[in-house]
């Protein structure tokens, strides 16, 4: 299992290299000038030219790229042009908000998705199954921003149960964090929960047909053990892969949700950075988010090996 983890870590390096290249390239491909964004509309051409020299933007692209990598190897992601502070520091202020929201949404996704999927599979073609799959379909079909808006109107404005927006850090007030994050997390989670419910259902149905399930029953094991041990342990193998993808989708989906609920997360930070052509912020922020997602996927691969001895012994 440790071998699996090390192998995946090594294969993550090229991924990060490619992502850094893409973010560097994309920022330079889109029109716009960071100097203009910083200096404002009243700046003179001379001021702009001076600013470009200060920011190193007058250099050829290759030189800029090499400087960027030079910084990276030394652990320096550069300074944000807009915020006037280090990219790493700026990201670390915002990333916990996004990760917290995504993890909260993940917990909701797992609870709803797994439970609904397992129950639907066990009661295949029953009313329970059809109802669960209908709700899953609704979850998948309704855009999360729309769901978020409806929730704000119903639970925030009319019922007044939860705040309509704003953020309270977990470290300050855990309950406050919970109340400020619940609506965003649910609106973010429902789509994924629907997806997970459908995948869990089909995976369980597939597993329940297997010979070893019949063997487990022939041994006189209680039904609970047959399902929660023998069936689930096998059904989880494909599900874990999907959960890895779901985490990625949650983090990227968080961008929209953060905007809707005015949460100060990575989504807000990167949107501002892109709009203002804050090259170092976009490059560094994306790289850090990607690093986080790559780590999640490594974790998934390790989990996969833990669940399936056939992978472990390959």
């Amino acid at each position: 299992m440790i071998r699996v983890a090390i192998g995946r870590l090594l294969s993550a390096l090229p991924v990060l290299l490619i992502v850094s290249l893409i973010s560097f390239g994309l920022m330079r491909l889109i029109p716009g000038d960071p100097a203009a964004a910083i200096a404002g509309i009243s700046a003179t051409p001379a001021q702009l030219a001076q600013l470009r020299v200060d920011l190193g933007l007058d250099q050829p692209l290759l030189v800029q790229l090499l400087r960027y990598y030079e910084g990276l190897v030394q652990g320096d992601l550069g300074r944000s042009l807009l915020l006037g502070k280090g990219v790493f520091a700026a990201t670390m202020e915002r990333l916990p908000v996004t990760i917290g929201l995504s993890l909260y949404a993940l917990v909701i996704t797992l609870l709803i998705g797994l439970a609904a999927g397992i129950i639907a599979a066990l009661r295949q073609n029953s009313i329970v199954d059809q109802a669960a799959m209908m709700f899953a379909m609704i979850g998948i079909s309704v855009p999360s921003f729309f769901l978020g808006l409806v929730m704000i109107i119903v639970f925030g404005v009319h019922l007044g149960w939860l705040p309509t927006g704003g953020y309270i850090p977990f470290s300050q007030d855990p309950l406050g964090w919970l109340s400020s994050s619940t609506m965003p997390a649910i609106s973010l989670a429902l789509l994924q929960a629907g997806l997970l419910a459908r995948i869990t259902r089909s995976s369980m149905l597939e597993v329940l047909r297997q010979d070893y399930i019949r063997t487990a029953r022939a041994k006189g094991l209680p039904m609970r053990q047959v399902i929660l041990k023998h069936a689930l342990a096998n059904a989880l193998i494909p599900i874990v892969t999907v959960v890895g993808i779901i985490v990625t989708l949650l983090v990227s989906g968080a961008v929209v949700t953060e905007a809707l609920f005015s949460l100060p997360g990575m989504g807000q930070l990167l949107t501002q950075a892109v709009l203002n052509r804050d090259y170092p912020m976009v490059q560094g922020g994306l790289l850090l988010v990607t690093t986080f997602l790559v780590m999640v996927n490594i974790l998934v691969d390790v989990l996969y090996a833990a669940l399936d001895p056939r992978v472990r012994y390959e």
Binding site: Y212, R214, T215, A218, K219, G220, M223, A233, P309, Y313
Partner: protein, 332 residues
């Protein structure tokens, strides 16, 4: 009192075109320590009979239409699944045709044996492990203690079937149902597994129902034999009797299908035609369409299973006209 009594067992399956009966009016009894062979082609209802006894058919679509299964005086067919859980394992256990897929791939074989014992008996973890190793040892897994933590994919088909047997016998059942236990294995391994089953029968004294389509397996192992065709029992007798004087033309056909090393035959013999689909069974005797001795009366009514000779029943109206002469009668 016999160990197992099956009376008029009829099991149906719901399909798109209505309910079909997979087995009809299957009756037999089995004494403690006895080995009963159930033989027939694929689709004749052998496995459905076994799974109906175990209560393991998925319901729906399967449904017990009528009949009862009585094991040690208890009517299994009236039991809830929860009650059946106490029978499966220590009362009746089962091994299956596919050793490759019958073991759970994500648990070690030791765990799979131990959990069987754990489900039925209270033992300390140390004793549990000891018992599992003992079982692996008994089924001939070399260095059993070391292999406890192996996973099924690390074993060969024959070894996996041995593990299945160890698992099935871990709670000392009074009856073992072996559903085509050797079909998926190499010929050399087949003989080993059958020998193992015989040895374990002698050691544990359990009764065995062995399901197969192979008359050779029946000859080697069984005391009595039940021949099934298209969901019905068509002949029942002690093994020696059936091999000596098969009464049903189908049974004779099955015996002729066994390739012989001593007789000089150029081609393998096969029964013409195929087993009728459950939805398209012919009227009257279900074998009549394939039977070379069929007369118009054969398709008039379903022939009942009748005791035609001492301890020998068959379901064929022409059985006694056509049956070969007994070996004993040939003696001067």
């Amino acid at each position: 009192m016999s160990l197992l009594e099956v009376r008029g067992l009829t099991t149906g399956f719901m399909t798109g075109s209505g309910e079909i009966t997979a087995i009809e009016d299957v009756s037999f009894s089995l004494n403690a320590g006895e080995i009963l062979g159930i033989v027939g082609e694929s689709g004749s209802g052998k496995s459905v009979t076994a799974l109906s006894i175990m209560g393991l058919l998925p319901s729906p679509p399967a449904r017990l239409i009528s009949g009862e299964v009585i094991f040690e005086g208890q009517t299994l067919t009236n039991m809830s699944d929860r009650q059946m859980q106490t029978i499966r394992g220590p009362g009746i256990s089962m091994i299956f045709q596919e050793p490759m897929t019958s073991l759970n791939p994500v648990f070690s074989i030791g765990e799979q044996i131990m959990e069987t014992i754990r489900a039925h008996e209270r033992l300390s973890p140390a004793k549990l492990r000891e018992r599992a190793i003992e079982m692996l040892d008994k089924v001939g897994i070399p260095s059993a203690a070391r292999r406890m933590d192996d996973y099924p994919h690390q074993m060969s088909g024959g070894q996996r079937q041995r593990v299945m047997i160890a698992m099935a016998l871990a709670c000392r059942p009074r009856l073992l149902i072996a559903d085509e236990p050797t079909t998926a294995l190499d010929v050399t391994i087949q003989a080993q597994i059958l020998d193992l089953l015989m040895d374990l029968r002698d050691e544990f004294g359990m009764a065995i129902i062995i399901i197969t389509h192979n008359m050779g397996v029946i000859a080697e192992t069984a005391d009595r034999v039940l021949v099934m065709y298209a969901g019905r029992v068509i002949e029942e007798a002690p093994v020696a009797t059936v091999f000596d004087r098969p009464l049903h033309p189908y049974t004779r056909g099955l015996l002729e299908c066994v390739p012989s090393l001593t007789e000089d035959r150029a081609r393998l013999v096969a029964i013409p035609g195929t087993l009728p689909e459950p939805t398209r069974r012919p009227p009257g005797c279900r074998f009549s369409v394939r039977c070379s001795h069929a007369i118009p009366a054969c398709s008039a009514a379903l022939p009942p299973l009748e005791l035609l000779e001492p301890d020998h029943s068959a379901a064929c109206i022409r059985a006694l006209d056509l049956a070969p002469i007994r070996t004993a009668d040939l003696a001067p």
